[in-house]
Amino acid sequence: MSVATGDPGRQRATRGEFAIAGAVAGFLAGAAVVVVLVRQGMVDTMAAGPGPDVVGVLVLLVGATVTGAACGWVTQPEALPAAVSGGLLFGLLGWICWWLTALPLVLGVSPTWSATQAGEVFPYLIGSILHGGATGVLLYLLVDRLPRKVPVPPPSEGVPPRVLVIGGGFAGVAVARRLERLSARGLRVDVTLVSESNYLLFTPMLAEVASSAIQATHIASPVRASCPLTRFRRGTVDAIDLERRVVQVSASHTGETDHLEYDQLVIALGSEPNYLGLAGVAEHSFSLKSLSDATRLRNHTLTLLDRAEGECDADERRRLLTFVVAGGGFAGVEMAAELFDFVHGVRRYYPVIGPDDPRFVLVHPRDRILPELSTELAAYAQRRLEARGIEFLLGRRVAGAGAGFVILDGQEVVGTETLVWTAGTQPNAALAALAVDKNRAGALKVDATLAVPGVAGLWAAGDCAEVPDLDRDGAPHPPTAQHALREGKALADNIAAVLRGEEPSPFRFRAIGTLVALGRRTAAAEIRGHRFSGLLAWLMWRAIYLGKLPGIEKKVRVLLDWGIEEAFPRDTVVTASAEVGPVEPSAVLS
């Protein structure tokens, strides 16, 4: 009795073996019961009435065999008592299925499942119970005693293919999560994910963190909790050796380097700010790509309010309270709106600061903001924000920045302590050394299956990849979160297909819509060609993004944050200093 009882020295029977053994056991036990029934002259009744005995016997034996196979398939008993119990259970359920349900239907009678009907077939209940118990015993003995047809897998099959995912953004985590699902369904794969941070950041809500509407950690899901079956390495990718199939990683906490081998590599490193080589911008601006960026901006804003409160010079106070946002895309517009709400929302605690002291400027090189939205909605967004007092400098560019000022093209100097940079991104710098085909921005060119052409086992998705849209003649999919998520899932499916020896499928996705929040109670949205604005769009924005936020716990926390915001003022506690070092304007202009 060693196999079914889990002797580690012998391999456990497969599910198919259990089913076959169950079928044999069911047939043998059924034959014994049939003998009793035939001797009692009870086979006529059970064989659908008027039929001959031989048909009845055959029907019974087939039923007994099927019941036994189902019992083996479902219960896969570990021990003899459990096998008998499982058999009894299946005997009873089989009696209900056949004698109370199927047989009346075969006879052309509606099943009533009544006690009267059940009483009429009571003898077969006892027969079924005994059949089930005997099937359990035989099933266990057969599985335990019969020789294994399936050999113990060779050691080479014991090492699953290694999939290395670099990048813990939407695409990378989506790949890992999907592979975990597939793993639960039988895919043998060993997944490792490398990321600089140990969380998946939900970037659409980052502006609300910067404006103190949401607690910072509430929009970040820990990767270890999101992907419990994936090996997680926190570190920075230093180099990728495509020939040797090795990635060099520096641990985030110690700086120690390690070399990770892979069979399949997924590059999902995302993007980073692109300062376009503008003088002083990288040093004197706030980007909005990480939690620390958002909390730094929040602390900086609150510090400026404190400084302005103590400032006697009205011009200097106005300079301190001037906020410049570079870039009129989603991130820039949402950030400008949120900063406006934040500053004016907490201004009551700074009595010296007047309602006209804060100034908000959005600089955008094109003639209209929000190019992803329709002209009408973009104009609506601009109107609503201008009505509140946000200035739009369209057709203008930031040319440089220093401590206390921003230089616009045309050499105009705007006095400010705050420049938020959302005007450009570029693929991760680690890809620069990679000898594969890239686009002008540096993103990896992949084919429709998300594989990098010419390099076996190399895949890419998300902002660092240029993915052709087959429905738009190969034009690239936009680098948005919803695309990255879908690309990640499709990529994992394609890896699974390749590992199974199947053909990968091309990625197809039609964007559901776009939404932009415009601060308090206002948003603009386009969903499947339908346009929404105002309060309805704002509610849609919150509902949709709350739904997209990973993890139930985080959803609850953000929902509570939003609820608290309705009842209480935003938090003005400064948690860390966020000062920028002084630089003279002349140094930048020269």
């Binding site: 009692q40 219960t75 008993p77 570990e78 119970i129 079956l229 139930i552």
Partner: protein, 494 residues
């Protein structure tokens, strides 16, 4: 695993037993069980029928034959339990199931065969053999307890009797039983109260019965404690045990009426059956919940706290429970349409149309699905266990729903009587089908969306370990016993 009669055990649940062959131990235990059964047979005058196996009719010959058979059957039980957990509570439920199975195999099949008669498989013969059914259950219980004791005696016999259950657990059991008894007493009329089930009346006796049942459950509860769902199912089998050993055996014996094992006496005392099932299963859930509440409130060791907390996994489970409940509800709907039961369900909301009934039915299914998810999440290690939990949970909802809540909500009294059981037999079948579909669907969803049992390093081994622990415990015995009882008791008393 430890229980009331446990001594030192290693981590696999195997205690330090004597080295005797399990068959021998089982035979001795069988003789003890056979003595109890034999006494009952003597009281019922059934020994001559056993003597007919050797073509005799003397009671003494019958007793000798009976004891011989008991030793053989007990030896089989000992062999069957050789690799199982050795504590008394698990062995007890296996003994109950074993006894029930032998009723079908022995007096209904082998005894007629050995005496040259046809198998007694028809309903009338089974009804005539009802006293024998309870005798077999008594045999199973006594044999199991004797075996549990025998396997722990030998090297340290004195220590073997030291109860492993703590005063805290006994108090918790008493409290759980009291809560359960009060809850049921508030729901049902006096003649159906827990006190009435054991031949008493009044709130004091109700509380006393609850405390008794709860303390007994604490004795039979495994260590580490079960979650709410498994405790609920174990409680239902425990309630059946109380009905057989309390209502039908001890109470009439103590009152001098003799064993109430006849068909008529069983029918007369049937109203106690649903009550005790509900009382014991509710006590089981309370026992589990109170234990977890105590851990949550008073344990200062975070390692004892529940993994990710109820919020994360509980909310996920609710979502899966909704879907699984709807799947089970759809299966039940087919049966409801066939028997025209939907208008009855519609009356719950003051309507009478089948469509309204369908909506109400699916909503109820959804709620039951969610409750299943919260009670049984993470407890289905394979399809077999999913089916076991689901079907037994479906039976409980037949007792609670069809026999109790539905009549109450329609303005009547709980229908804990033979007539109602006969009338709602189709509903019983539907509830079993509902439970099966619910359990299998929930397991499928749980597996697909979060194979919770797989850790990063030793996933499949962990799953295999949990599945094996379940098989070595009494859960399979409880499933089989509950379903046997669910199907056969209503038919036999009908």
């Amino acid at each position: 695993m430890t229980s009331a009669l446990d001594v030192d055990q290693d981590r696999t649940g195997h205690g330090r037993g004597v080295a005797a062959h399990p068959g021998v131990l089982g035979a001795i235990a069988g003789i003890v069980g056979g003595a109890a059964f034999g006494a009952a047979m003597a009281d019922l005058g059934a020994l001559p029928s056993v003597a007919s196996i050797v073509r005799a009719d003397s009671p003494s010959v019958g007793l000798a034959v009976h004891m011989t058979i008991a030793a053989l059957v007990g030896a089989g039980f000992g062999l069957l339990m050789a690799n199982q957990r050795q504590d008394a509570s698990d062995t007890l439920f296996w003994g109950l199931s074993y006894g029930a199975a032998w009723w079908f195999l022995g007096p209904l099949t082998l005894l007629p065969f050995l005496t040259g008669r046809p198998p007694a498989w028809d309903l009338a013969a089974a009804q005539r053999a009802v006293p024998s059914l309870f005798g077999h259950l008594l045999f199973g219980v006594v044999t199991a307890l004797a075996l549990a004791v025998l396997r722990r005696t030998g090297d340290r016999p004195r220590v073997a009797w030291r109860p492993a259950v703590t005063m805290g657990e006994l108090s918790r059991g008493a409290l759980a039983g009291a809560f359960a008894a009060l809850g049921i007493a508030l729901l049902v009329p006096d003649n159906l109260s827990p006190a009435a089930a054991l031949g008493g009346t009044g709130w004091g006796r109700t509380l006393a019965v609850g405390v008794l049942v709860g303390v007994g459950f604490a004795f039979l509860s495994p260590h580490p404690p079960e979650r709410g769902g498994p405790a609920l199912v174990r409680g239902s089998a425990y309630g059946f045990l109380w009905w057989v050993m309390g209502t039908l055996t001890l109470v009439p014996l103590l009152s001098g009426d003799g064993l109430a094992w006849s068909l008529e006496a069983t029918r007369e005392r049937f109203p106690a059956f649903p009550g005790l099932i509900l009382l014991a299963s509710t006590a089981g859930v309370w026992f589990s919940w109170l234990g977890r509440a105590a851990t949550a409130l008073f344990s200062d060791d975070v390692r004892r706290a529940e993994g990710e907390g109820p919020g994360t996994r509980g909310l996920r489970a609710i979502g899966r429970g909704v879907l699984a409940g709807l799947a089970g509800g759809l299966v039940f709907t087919v049966l409801m349409i066939q028997i025209g039961y939907l208008p009855t369900v519609a009356r719950l909301v003051g309507a009478g149309s089948p469509s309204a009934g369908l909506v109400v039915h699916l909503l109820i299914s959804l709620v039951i699905g969610v409750s299943y998810a919260l009670l049984f999440r993470g407890r289905s290690f394979d399809s077999g266990s999913a089916l076991g939990w689901g079907v037994t949970y479906g039976f409980l909802w037949w007792v609670l729903g069809a026999l109790t809540l539905l009549p109450l909500l329609l303005g009547g009294q709980p229908q804990w009587n033979v007539t109602a059981v006969v009338a709602t037999f189709p509903s019983l079948v539907g509830h079993l089908a509902f439970g099966g579909a619910l359990g299998l669907t929930y397991r499928r969803l749980e597996t697909a969306s979060g194979p919770w049992w797989i850790s990063r390093t030793d996933g499949e081994a962990a799953q295999a370990f949990e599945r094996r622990q379940l098989a070595l415990g009494s859960a399979p015995a409880v499933w089989a016993l509950v379903v046997l009882m669910a199907v056969t008791v209503p038919l036999i008393i009908a």
